[in-house]
């Protein structure tokens, strides 16, 4: 039987504010067994870009990444946010190690082909090299992954943190019994968007289909859940959608077969 591994993805908002970051670091430290943290950092990137006179252009929620913006996100995601988390976890006795996709060639991407939109230096994940990563994890190292990959030809690429989390979880599923936790602002997937306590505790593929048909699950939640089922189809044991403050407790929505 494979050993358990928990992979937590948190957005920029949580890791960029001191109070929520400290809470997250405490909660993450308390998770037993093997674990991985994937973080965002978009707000800090937008802030630094503005300070440097670089305009942040977003299309469909994704950042258009020109050469100057690539420098900004490499500094903010790979440097500032990542090392702040790593140093914070080390202070709590967690042997964290910061990684981008370039480090140990953990995640190689391809620069997104230009179709309707030229996203610039944005990477679509091609391959996660899970073997070195899993060796490190078994040595007691806790990877802290920034939303950056590389193209194998010398360039870093900006890559969505949800994608990093999903693809890494799938690749690690060969070696571990993986639970993938997506933290977002709500307590879970809600059956009534106006009632924050109407969390649906479990969603199976059949239930998902039914909720979508009834219009209970709609909008941006549909691709999020499709991604979750795709991770499960690729070997991830379960996906949990919850709040960052609940990563160590009950609650949230469990996505499973």
């Amino acid at each position: 039987m494979k050993e358990k591994l928990t992979l937590i993805k948190v957005g920029g908002k949580i890791v960029e504010e001191e109070a929520t970051l400290n809470q997250l670091l405490s909660d993450f430290s308390a998770i037993e067994g093997y674990k991985v943290l994937v973080h965002g950092g978009g707000r800090s990137a937008t802030k630094l870009a503005a300070q440097l006179g670089i305009e942040s252009k977003m299309v469909n929620g994704r950042r258009i990444t020109d050469a100057e913006t690539l420098k900004v996100v490499t500094m903010v995601y790979g440097g500032l946010v990542n090392k702040n988390i790593v140093a914070g976890l080390q202070a709590k006795g967690v042997n964290a190690m910061g990684l981008t996709g370039a480090d140990m060639n953990v995640i190689r991407s391809i620069k997104r082909p230009v179709k309707d939109v030229d996203y610039g230096f944005v990477g679509d994940v091609q391959k996660v090299n899970a073997e070195l990563l899993s060796n490190l994890i078994r040595q007691g190292v806790v990877p802290v992954m920034a939303p950056l990959t590389h193209d194998g030809q010398g360039s870093m690429l900006n890559t969505n943190a949800d994608t990093i989390a999903g693809e890494t979880a799938k690749a690690l599923a060969e070696f571990f019994d993986v639970t993938l936790v997506f933290c977002f602002e709500k307590k879970g997937v809600l059956s009534d968007e106006n009632d924050d306590d109407s969390v649906i505790p479990v969603i199976t593929p059949e239930e998902f289909k039914m909720y979508v048909e009834k219009g209970i699950i709609q909008g941006g939640m549909i691709p999020k859940l499709e991604n979750s089922f795709s991770a499960i189809d690729a070997g991830v044991s379960q996906v949990i959608i919850t709040q960052a403050s609940s990563i160590n407790g009950e609650g949230g929505t469990i996505i499973r077969k």
Copy 2:
């Protein structure tokens, strides 16, 4: 018998300009056996600080690192410069991994006590954890180390790259036959400062004493050589002082017992 490991330290100037960086990456890639790269990045830090309206204050060649400057060096050293090198080495087939002292707790420092000067968030190295590092190296990973450490209490610290190189070389000497290479702007230690070709090929402790007495070696070269002998006393096999363009060839000054 221990296996050979080469640890190269290059300053900011080399890694911050595209032409010299590309040459360095090629030369470094060609080094056989186990290897580690330690880099600076001061010029880029000064440039970013200026763009952000932060004044760079230097005392005795060291950067005064207030809270805002710490963010700048964490972004530049740990993000921009480090990941640029890592992605560049990966493109050449070197399985590089970027590290600060916080990552895997590789180098823990203590914030420099305030005496005549308050250097701010600057770290004096306390301990290099060479065991995890040497495990990684034996797995074929090539560490690329930024001049940053941490205090074990959640804060990153700015740390001189020569110090990182020297202390890491000493710690790795327990596991490997270590050659430490300091790259600087001259071809080696010169017997005539006005003749760039007057490189002294070998310096032993006795010869060092003699050269200092005769005034042939003076100024900033004295602490550099004292540090080199200190590394050798701590188990490093040899120290070479040379140009970045010569790391793979003959030339330079060899410091040995």
